[in-house]
């Protein structure tokens, strides 16, 4: 009764024949894009040939001292918090002296205590900070005493 040719590709409802629907190519394309995005880190790192992290270099003074205000492991993970609290205590409470758990006494000062020892930012701070993509704004105001103002401003 209708255009039989159109209907000839199937006969009964139970036995049906699937012809590929037109959207399959778009679905595959979408999947490829999705998987591509999801696995982005894998091929990005392959293309960039990312180098392993370069170890932090301690200055001679730091090496000689052999200690910091807290054990190294704690400094690695929590130094930002210490700096943060130091500055609050120094500025607002006027306390400037810090006694470490080991009994050593330090002046709480980024420029004058921390940077005095760790004076090479590029090989100390920046190594990890760049690797972990952590930007700081400490040096917007504070200065590295071992550098000129111009160097500090860069």
């Amino acid at each position: 009764m209708n255009d039989k040719a159109e209907l000839s590709n199937a006969s009964a409802s139970a036995s049906m024949k699937l012809i590929p629907s037109g959207d399959k190519k778009w679905i595959i394309l979408g999947l490829i894009i999705f998987v591509g995005l999801f696995t982005f880190p894998i091929w990005y790192n392959m293309l960039k040939c990312s180098a392993p992290i370069q170890p932090v270099v301690l200055s001679a003074k730091a090496k000689a001292a052999g200690y910091c205000v807290l054990p190294k492991s704690e400094m690695v993970s929590a130094h930002m918090q210490i700096l943060d609290e130091w500055r609050d205590i120094v500025v607002r409470e006027g306390e400037r002296t810090y006694t470490s758990p080991s009994g050593k006494i330090f002046t709480m000062s980024l420029s004058n205590t921390c940077l005095d020892c760790h004076n090479n930012q590029a090989e100390f701070c920046d190594r990890c900070h760049q690797y972990a993509s952590v930007k700081t704004y400490c040096m917007d105001c504070h200065v590295n005493p071992s550098k000129s103002l111009k160097e500090n401003m860069q």
């Binding site: 006027g94 470490s100 006494i105 420029s111 004058n112 205590t113 105001c141 200065v143």
Partner: protein, 286 residues
């Protein structure tokens, strides 16, 4: 509160604990904070002095008030300053004082609109408009007067600041916390002495001589004279006092034996616009 602020001491203990036993972790924190390390008295055992700024120079022969100067203290109830303006004959006498401050605090040189001033030179009529006389002595009229923050006992700027970025310390110093200042400049409107400056632009490119021991400021914050709190902490006189050749006396206003009290006892002094009730801590001997 101060004690528990030391909790970063044992921060790593909590690190290992994770959150699995957070109550234990917190207990661990508490136990470390129970015994705070005591801040040593700087007089008994000098602080680790990484700053070599030299000891205060005390010139006994200087023609100041005829009292023997006390050694620099580091604690006070209300720091105050007495300026013997008679000793500043011309701008040349004041210049080293201003320069000492500018240099030590990394103060930039900027145009008049944006300038940063902690201590600066003013004429009598501007400094004491309410004490103006019609026929002022010529010498006083042209005398350079140092203007600076009065570290008021009742500071309107502290009242106005919405973030406590400017606050009054227990020793009477009105201080700025540059980390907290949001740059709303309410304090500048509140200050009746024009003592506050705002960093309209980045100060760093305009700093001529530079002191690595003191931070610069970032654009967008207010700043002002801090009575050299950083030097007082180390038992040093403020830079201007040191550079004034004895013209400026500094000390604890609450201590009857302090230099400032001695000087004030023996000289007639005035303060700026006392009618406002701010109780300035900077006294001028005219």
């Amino acid at each position: 509160m101060k004690n528990s602020r030391r909790k970063f001491l044992k921060i790593a203990g909590a690190t290992a604990a994770g959150l699995g036993l957070s109550t234990t972790a917190i207990k661990a924190l508490e136990s470390t904070t129970a015994e705070p390390p005591r801040a040593p008295d700087p007089h008994a055992a000098p602080a680790v002095d990484t700053i070599k700024m030299g000891k205060p120079v005390i010139d006994e022969t200087a023609p100041v008030a005829d009292v023997k100067k006390n050694p620099p203290p580091s604690k006070a109830k209300q720091w105050a300053m007495v300026v013997d303006t008679r000793q500043f004959k011309s701008s040349k006498d004041l210049e080293p004082v201003v320069n000492a401050c500018n240099k030590i605090h990394n103060i930039p040189s900027l145009n008049k609109k944006h300038e940063i001033k902690w201590i600066w030179e003013e004429e009598y009529k501007h400094l004491f408009p309410s004490l103006e006389t019609k026929f002022l002595a010529e010498e006083v009229k042209h005398r350079p007067f140092p203007a600076l923050c009065n570290h008021c006992e009742n500071p309107p700027c502290v009242r106005a600041c919405p973030t406590q970025a400017t606050f009054k310390r227990k020793d009477g110093i009105v201080l700025m916390d540059f980390h907290r200042c949001i740059g709303c400049r309410f304090c500048m409107a509140a200050c009746p002495y024009g003592a506050r400056s705002f960093n309209y632009v980045d100060p760093r490119p305009n700093i001529e001589e530079f002191n690595p021991q003191f931070p610069t400021r970032t654009k967008g914050v207010v700043e002002k004279c801090n009575f050299c709190a950083e030097r007082l902490a180390k038992g040093q006189w403020p830079a201007c006092v040191e550079a004034s050749n004895g013209a400026i006396t500094f000390g604890d206003l609450d201590d009857p034996d302090s230099d400032v009290r001695k000087v004030l006892k023996n000289n007639f002094s005035v303060r700026r616009n006392v009618s406002l009730g701010t109780e300035p801590s900077v006294y001028y001997i005219i």
